[in-house]
Symmetry: D2
Subunit: 100 residues, 4 copies
């Protein structure tokens, strides 16, 4: 996927939406730093794997939130404007990449 259809979401994210997303990403950033610390402290491999798996879940949830909002705004808008198929195909491509 080289170029996407837009530069911005069709409906700008509200400040509340942005703050919520940024808080979740900040927490994920902290979790990644936590794993670095676990490496430093010679922690057991399985404990590290459990932590990495928690980060994966948190990231996946952020991805779901972004996907759902994308469908409710950008894809919906594209469909209303007769460009639905292109928008749906773009989304399918990224969903396939995701589940790899």
């Amino acid at each position: 996927m080289n170029e996407t259809l837009h530069d911005h979401p069709v409906t700008p994210r509200t400040n509340e939406e942005k703050d919520k997303l940024k808080r979740r990403l900040k927490r994920i950033e902290g979790q990644v730093r936590g794993v670095e610390k676990m490496i430093e402290e010679e922690r057991y491999c399985v404990d590290i794997l459990i932590q990495i798996s928690a980060i994966q879940s948190a990231l996946k949830n952020v991805g779901y939130g972004v996907t759902e909002r994308h469908m409710k705004h950008c894809v919906k808008d594209a469909i209303a404007n007769g460009d639905g198929d292109e928008s749906i195909e773009e989304l399918m491509a990224v969903l396939k990449q995701f589940s790899k």
Copy 2:
């Protein structure tokens, strides 16, 4: 999974192994910060999803590395000491959690 079998890997990670892991995690941390910036800059949902998917891949690769080393040291050692099954079951539990 409430308690894991050990506090440390059976063979301490070498400094080289630790540095490599920390470099990869630092890069992932930077990628997460990059997504925060994309939110700030009102970037398009699909571009954000592509970035999140790249972080997932990078994390998965760190997980594979940790898993392989765990098998080659901790699980191998457990097997040599007759505690293989317990160690294998512990690993299976975290692998299942991972693929959720």
Copy 3:
């Protein structure tokens, strides 16, 4: 998810679409039977795992095809009728279940 929004796709699948889907599912059915045969023939675990992984890929591809068509017909139609959000939330729920 207890009850879904419809009994049928909003646009009936064409005979060609149905035949294509059924052919792919028949092939998957054959692959599953192939694994049964591998068990019977005492085949090596890793060979069996490779085969199971191939079936997973094939099923995932069928799922992608069904999802894309669903978006291009049912979700698009729901959006046109002002019921988009409900339809999108239904789809998100099944996508989350999928990636588990």
Copy 4:
């Protein structure tokens, strides 16, 4: 992955193990046939996706069972014989393929 390390599991599967695996695969085969019937009956896309997702879970569980037994017999045996690393690398390769 072109060639695997063995033709057979190092410890033959017991009849009970084989029967259990075959029963689970038979059930999966029936689930796949069920999806074919759903296509035939023009069933709603989301109902089909829920069913496909159930098959994925069932297959994944068979895969976990085969993996665990593989570790407890073939990998354990390889480690005892000093061929552990090769066996572990073979398993890692198939685990990576799986999670794609």
